[in-house]
């Protein structure tokens, strides 16, 4: 406890710009390479541009889903979803019974086919939004997310035409209005895909593994994963695939099989391949004649006067151009291929490898969705001296020379952002610590490598993320640790292991959704922190993600070991404990460049407990981890446009988000990050505790957050242009009554459709709007 007080004193004493990472420019930040994908003597992808085109087509193609859903159906608005009708899930991730039923929200209504209004938000509402002690006016464990598929049991799909699969469809016990089934809704809000390429892992719970295994999201954890490789003229063999930094490939192969997002149940990837391979991409969806990806490859039929659907090719042809033939050129079938559905011909190699083509194409396409031309990227920064306390400070007058009031506002907003440690978790150019590999590169000293623009270079090095070794405050170092040790609001033993890039801020009841604290399909905990604990204890079978073996203890924010202490400390290993040199087990010591702990202000030692010591301490606070209800820290880039906010979509506006932080969160719990209690948005206005006291700092902070919006995203200009997509947008009627007679099944509610028109490289004339702008009162 003494150490926490020391931390608070230290942080308050330092000037605002000295503490932690700063939000820097995304310009020239390197996308982590995927070894073997495009490089080497036998790359998997032989034509990157064709693979990107394949990925863009598959991302937006509604034929991928069983009943009209594409990836883009939930990721069309600044890469996220701004629909307001039929967007509620009852809270199905909850371990409590209340998650099985829909709540009445603030408007007096809710449930399937409800149209969200301002009155519904925030889902957890206090009488005074700034006062954590004020009465709870409304609370719900419902989740505002994305409506998807009706689902059903998969039977088959046509190979040439027809968007909908043949499925045995039945009434849904959960998602219905009266007796008519409605489209099912996801249990977590759709995050933006823009800039997601940088995240070490993806999904709110991190389950989209950094390693892509070719057929599932689970990386090395899936014993059955693999791809079929042609090994000789007449032979094919299943082989393990292991591509690093391919988390978006891992992610992409999940939603097309999900029975809430896109698919009928029991549908497998080769069946999706069989459905799509002989078809035109975007078969019934108009493509803009100036599409930034397709036009240059001569794939577009449209002209300036006539907009036509489809690309001038087939998915099979695109794959043969983009991918190494050893993954598709085997003739015929093989006994090692998975069996087809009843009555169908055996699969061929291109079908059984379709998950790999899909995942890698989507990885490469989404790798082009980088928004690095926002005001925060364009503003000139102080880069003359990396050791200056004002290193990286933006000079807003360079962007707004005739608007001194705005300059003052943005300076204050940035000051609020940094002074309250927002910038520590929402750290660096991506405004999240989730991009572990990218940041480790930026922090590795170099005389030549830089990020930022060429006339405002930020050289890689220890201060590259923030002055005064700012990256280390967030546990970020060249070692690229996936785990750190940090502090929580646990009153007794605050220090715990945490996954870097994930945090519990107390948005919802921790039982409402375990987040990172969940398990994979094989029963293994998702988190790296759990695995690191097991690594220390010598239980190597529990370390299913190999990156955990590389964790470097002396780069932790809060140390694991205090060699100067002779006490028996439940929260620390001390000189009373048998320790060993970190890295001795692997024969590669991890003892170079150890950091001074930002919290304790002493040099960390490169020591970990011996296996016996760790085994004995497994249930003690010194080995504890904080993963329950921790979620991936979202990037704030384009946050102005990506509402509603948080994993449960419970906040409609940035004002509500800022109010959430100002009251230290919604649900205090022992895994909540320690920073949550040290937030102060109070300004000098009176009376204290009133909205007036908070309003100026809140508004300045929000003005600053809007500097993360890239106008190319706002106007859907290249690379954010896209084909036409018709998105299900609720059902005819409302939450009381619907019109039945959906062509899919007579008992299903009729769909209403939102047509997002095709946009070319020059974007659309009208800007896309923030989520709350379309909410009626």
């Amino acid at each position: 406890m003494r150490l926490i007080n020391l931390f608070l004193l230290v942080s308050l004493a330092l000037p605002v710009f000295a503490h932690g990472p700063l939000p820097g420019p995304l310009t020239n930040v390197p996308v982590p390479e995927v070894p073997g994908l495009l490089d080497g003597s036998d790359p998997i992808v032989v034509d990157k541009n064709m693979a990107i085109a394949l990925g863009k087509a598959l991302f937006w193609d509604v034929n991928v889903g069983s009943d009209g859903m594409a990836c883009g159906s939930c990721h069309f608005h600044a890469g996220a979803d701004n629909r307001v009708k039929n967007q509620l899930n009852p809270g199905l991730k909850s371990s409590q019974l209340s998650g099985q039923s829909f709540d009445t929200l603030g408007s007096g209504s809710g449930g399937p086919n409800h149209t969200l209004t301002q009155a519904d938000f925030p889902l957890h509402k206090l009488a005074n939004p700034y006062d954590p002690a004020s009465a709870v006016v409304k609370d719900s464990d419902d989740v505002v997310a994305s409506s998807g598929t009706f689902s059903g049991e998969f039977k088959g799909a046509s190979m040439f035409s027809g968007t909908n699969d043949q499925c045995a469809r039945a009434n849904d016990p959960m998602f219905h209005v009266d007796v008519s089934s409605t489209r099912r809704v996801e249990p977590r809000n759709a995050p933006t895909v823009i800039n997601a390429i940088f995240n070490y892992r993806n999904f709110w719970d991190g389950r989209a593994n950094n390693i892509f295994n070719g057929s599932s999201p689970w990386g090395d954890r899936d014993p059955d994963a693999g791809v079929w490789v042609k090994t000789g003229a007449r032979s094919v063999a299943k082989q393990r695939l292991r591509l690093e930094n391919a988390s978006l490939a891992s992610l992409s192969v999940a939603p097309p099989l999900s029975d809430t997002e896109m698919s009928c149940r029991q549908r497998k990837w080769p069946s999706i391949g069989r459905k799509l391979l002989l078809r035109q991409p975007l078969q019934n969806q108009k493509v803009h004649y100036q599409d930034s990806v397709f036009a240059g490859l001569g794939l577009v039929s449209s002209s300036a006067s006539t907009e036509l659907p489809g690309l001038k090719t087939t998915y099979k042809a695109m794959i043969t151009k983009a991918f190494n033939p050893k993954y598709w050129s085997y003739s015929g079938t093989s006994g090692s291929f998975p069996p087809p559905p009843n009555g169908q011909s055996a699969y061929n190699q291109m079908e059984v490898n379709f998950s790999m083509f899909f995942g890698l194409a989507l990885q490469l396409y989404q790798g082009t969705l980088i928004s690095d031309q926002a005001p925060i990227d364009l503003v000139t920064r102080n880069v003359a001296n990396p050791n200056a306390i004002t290193y990286l400070k933006p000079d807003w007058s360079s962007l707004y020379p005739n608007d001194p009031a705005k300059v003052t506002q943005l300076n204050n907003g940035l000051g609020v952002f940094v002074g309250n440690h927002c910038s520590t978790c929402h750290g660096g150019p991506l405004t999240t610590t989730a991009p572990i590999v990218a940041y480790s590169k930026l922090l590795t000293p170099s005389n030549t490598n830089y990020y930022g623009s060429a006339n405002n270079k930020i050289y890689y090095g220890v201060n590259a993320l923030g002055p005064n070794r700012g990256g280390q405050v967030a546990g970020l170092t060249p070692a690229g640790n996936v785990v750190t040790r940090d502090t929580t609001l646990d009153p007794l033993y605050p220090a715990k292991l945490m996954d870097i890039g994930f945090a519990n801020t107390g948005v919802a009841d921790p039982n409402g959704d375990p987040g990172l604290g969940g398990v994979d399909d094989f029963g293994n905990p998702l988190s790296f922190s759990y695995q690191y604990q097991q690594y220390l204890a010598g239980n190597s079978a529990k370390v299913v993600d190999k990156a955990v073996n590389k964790v470097k203890a002396c780069d932790f924010i809060y140390p694991l070991y205090d060699g100067s202490s002779t006490l028996n400390d439940p929260m620390m290993f001390t000189s009373l404990d048998a320790m060993e040199v970190d890295g001795a087990r692997e024969g590669s010591l991890k003892n170079l460049g150890c950091i001074v702990s930002p919290l304790v202000a002493t040099l960390n030692e490169a020591k970990i407990p011996t296996v016996a010591t760790a085994q004995a301490a497994l249930n003690q606070p010194k080995m504890a981890f904080a993963t329950q209800a921790a979620f991936k820290i979202p990037s704030l880039r384009n946050v102005e446009l990506t509402g509603p906010y948080m994993h449960n979509g419970s906040m409609a506006s940035l004002e509500q988000v800022v109010e959430f932080y100002a009251r230290f969160g919604n649900f205090a719990n022992d895994n909540q990050h320690a920073f949550m209690n040290s937030i102060s948005l109070v300004g000098s206005q009176l009376p204290l505790g009133s909205e007036a006291a908070f309003a100026k700092n809140r508004d300045d902070l929000i003005a600053f957050l809007k500097t993360f919006t890239d106008d190319r995203v706002r106007y859907e200009r290249a690379p954010f242009d896209h084909p036409e997509v018709k998105v299900p947008n609720g059902h005819v009627g409302d939450e009381q009554a619907v019109t039945a007679g959906n062509p899919l099944q007579a008992g299903f509610a009729a769909d209403e459709w939102l047509t997002i028109p095709a946009v070319g490289a020059n974007g659309s004339a009208a800007p896309i709007q923030p989520f709350e702008n379309q909410l009626q009162p």
């Binding site: 190979m159 003229a233 007449r234 042809a317 055996a346």
Partner: protein, 234 residues
């Protein structure tokens, strides 16, 4: 007023129902083929002799057929004809046609083999010319067909030539060419392979009824209603 007897209406309705309304389809077809020849060129090493030269039908998978979908197969003779120094095989052709229904995932493969014997104790080099004609053609709504020729010596990894056609893009594709190959023959028996695979799918697209038929039907149903009212008045 002239009346329409109800029986006449029912006869008309029955006649309409006999029309193959539900099965009005567009048809589709494909035709793909390959032709292969081997020639040994240049001065032949004395240790070299040609053994058997032959064709095998290795894969004959007619896929999943429905409706009136049907395939026609023309296979080369097992033995080639020797003209000068060229071993030439007859054409290998797969074609199909469907008016309603489909033929999906058909795969036919033929293997052409040239046995080359090296009576020496060290490897010898020989020049081989592989000549080929490949074509794939698709018609109507919808079809996809490809012809692929892989060539290799013994257990080596093959190279290949491929043509592909789809009614969604390039309707037909063809290539005529030859490959000049330097083969290194180990002592004893070597076999040079050319594997030809033709993979095709086709499905007849359903065609919506012309609008005139729907007006006609609506009119008949209307007439039926009038007749009913007339009877009810009595």
């Amino acid at each position: 007023m002239k009346t329409i007897k109800q029986t006449h209406i029912w006869l008309l309705m029955a006649g309409i129902l006999l029309l193959p309304i539900a099965s009005v389809q567009a048809s589709s077809a494909f035709s793909s083929q390959g032709e292969v020849g081997f020639s040994l060129s240049g001065p032949l090493p004395p240790e070299l002799s040609v053994g058997n030269v032959w064709f095998d039908n290795a894969i004959a998978d007619s896929g999943t057929q429905s409706g009136d979908g049907a395939l026609t197969l023309i296979m080369p003779a097992a033995l080639p004809s020797l003209t000068g120094n060229r071993y030439g095989f007859d054409v290998f052709k797969v074609s199909g046609h469907v008016n309603h229904g489909a033929v999906l995932n058909s795969v036919y493969a033929g293997w052409y083999n040239l046995e080359l014997l090296n009576s020496g104790t060290t490897s010898i080099s020989v020049e081989l010319v592989l000549d080929y004609q490949l074509s794939a053609a698709t018609f109507g709504q919808w079809a996809d067909s490809e012809a692929k020729l892989e060539y290799y010596l013994d257990e080596d990894l093959p190279e290949f030539v491929r043509v592909s056609a789809s009614t969604f893009s390039i309707g037909s594709d063809a290539v005529v060419g030859s490959k000049q190959l330097s083969l290194l023959l180990k002592p004893g028996r070597n076999v040079f392979h050319a594997d030809l695979t033709i993979a095709s799918s086709m499905e007849a697209a359903p065609v919506p009824l012309p609008a005139a038929i729907w007006s006609f039907l609506a009119g008949i149903i209307g007439l039926l209603g009038m007749t009913k009212r007339k009877f009810a008045d009595i």
